[in-house]
């Protein structure tokens, strides 16, 4: 039976792993090599790597970092942040991404979803939807890392994404991001029930129970979190154990021993 997935989200700002709170990135947590190494041996099912830097001069470096990280990553790696064209998707795949995650450009140019899924296959194209409750107390899709309103309703947009060939939806509540209050289960359930493609819940996990709620109540196919996984030993493995105990169909937690290649020096990939 297909397993529910646990996906840590590694958010990179100018190459540093950062904490995200309502889409503001303040605390630097550390470097990505360490994060990827730990997650790889702590029972995760996939890793999400998002570049949130606004500094365009840094982009080339992000590509280089990806190349260094992918050598040490033996679970699927989804890469996202500011993707605007097919050429860059190809570059990412060449550097070690297995899937890509698209947000802003998908709203600005929905045909991009069609084009990229036709070329790379739907299964390679994850579309990220960032949602905030607007002033009229309605869910609304935001782009440009939460800065720009779109007027789109998340359910309608999710359906359109499915029709255009998107293979999966990463659904984030901006309001919950970094709050430790748990997922916006209402939002997640509404979207998950209305599309036939997998939905990953993200934003707000403060305890392992929230992950279980995301699947049991929110009906998400996969659950993701960022901040919470960075601060405790064996974090994702413990989260997995909790999910197993809660009766979820997941891959059993084990400490995976992979004889990793030599750890690169920080400045070799940064």
């Amino acid at each position: 039976m297909l397993k529910h997935r646990l996906i840590p989200n590694v958010i990179l700002n100018n190459g540093n792993v950062v904490q995200s709170i309502n889409f503001k990135h303040t605390n630097v947590i550390g470097n990505a090599i360490t994060a990827i190494d730990f997650f790889n041996s702590w029972a995760v099912d996939e890793i999400l790597l998002l570049d949130v830097s606004r500094h365009t001069g840094y982009r080339q470096k992000f590509h280089k970092i990806l190349e260094g990280l992918s050598k040490r990553c033996f679970v699927p790696l989804t890469v996202g942040g500011w993707i605007k064209n097919v050429d860059e998707i190809q570059d990412f795949l060449k550097q070690g991404a297995d899937k890509v995650c698209i947000n802003t450009e998908a709203v600005r140019n929905p045909d991009f979803i069609k084009e990229s899924s036709r070329i790379f296959g739907s299964q390679c194209i994850t579309i990220s939807i960032d949602v905030k409750i607007n002033e009229s107390n309605q869910y609304e899709v935001f782009i440009d890392r939460g800065k720009e309103k779109t007027g789109l309703d998340p359910i309608q947009w999710a359906k359109q994404i499915e029709n255009l060939g998107g293979g999966e939806i990463l659904l984030t509540s901006i309001d919950r991001d970094g709050t430790l209050k748990g997922y916006d289960l209402n939002l997640i359930k509404m979207v998950a029930m209305n599309v036939k493609i997998p939905v990953i819940a993200f934003g707000g996990v403060g305890e392992w129970k929230h992950l279980v709620d995301g699947i049991k109540i929110g009906m998400a196919d996969a659950v993701s979190a960022a901040n919470i996984f960075h601060f405790t030993e064996h974090s994702t493995n413990n989260a997995k154990e909790y999910m197993v105990k809660a009766g979820l169909n997941v891959r059993k937690p084990t400490f995976y021993k992979i004889p990793m290649p030599r750890k690169p020096k920080y400045n070799e990939i940064y």
Partner: protein
């Protein structure tokens, strides 16, 4: 040296990373001479069938692969699209011809259970049919799958199926072996230690 065929759409780096982890020399290439001189061929695939086949055709690689696999008996490992290409044809976005090395067609996954989602994405239990070959030493393996179509192998070639995955009543062909042709629908390069073991098995077979 192992050649990983670069035809513009695979997750080529992930594959070569996995082989390199096992100490192999890997060349990501579409150069005919390099491919011809290599010990084994890996054809990865993340992408749509049509573009994949067209790209291979444009690079004149299909004939070469056929010659190397059938005349020179070079080991071939197809991953994901690399398995689907073995079919006679695919119904992904129209009808497109595959290599036709095995009988059967690539069709959309339509789970009987309507609540199951497509793409079939994530880790799934894989039922081993033939324990030798790639599945050696793998008990109840769980692999990472990522696809919307699958190879429905025709009756005459069903004996080549070495493992299956049941997704909502659909029996997905997970792996195939026919002489020196090996292929898997899932992604061993992304299936952690289980996947690495499978790649090790492939290399051992190649060198037997």
């Amino acid at each position: 040296m192992i050649s990983v065929i670069d035809y513009g759409m695979g997750n080529v780096r992930s594959i070569s990373n996995a082989f390199e982890l096992l100490g192999e020399m890997v060349s990501i290439t579409n150069d005919k001479k390099v491919i011809t001189d290599s010990e084994a061929i890996v054809l990865p695939g993340v992408g749509a069938f049509e573009d994949g086949i067209n790209n291979l055709q444009k690079m004149n690689l299909i004939e070469l692969l056929k010659e190397l696999v059938f005349d020179k008996k070079k080991p071939y490992l197809g991953i994901c699209l690399g398995l689907e290409f073995l079919a006679e044809r695919s119904y992904e976005n129209g009808i497109h011809n595959g290599f036709g090395w095995l009988k059967g067609e690539v069709v959309k996954i339509k789970p009987e259970n309507q609540s199951l989602k497509v793409p079939h994405m994530g880790w799934d239990d894989t039922r081993v049919i033939i324990e030798t070959d790639l599945m050696r030493g793998l008990e109840k393996p769980i692999f990472y799958y990522l696809h919307s179509f699958y190879f429905k192998v025709a009756e005459v070639d069903k004996k080549c199926i070495t493992s299956l995955c049941n997704y909502g009543g659909v029996e997905i062909t997970s792996s195939i072996k026919k002489d020196n042709i090996y292929a898997v629908q899932f992604h061993p390069e992304k299936s952690q230690t289980t996947g690495i073991q499978l790649i090790k098995n492939f290399l051992e077979d190649v060198r037997k």
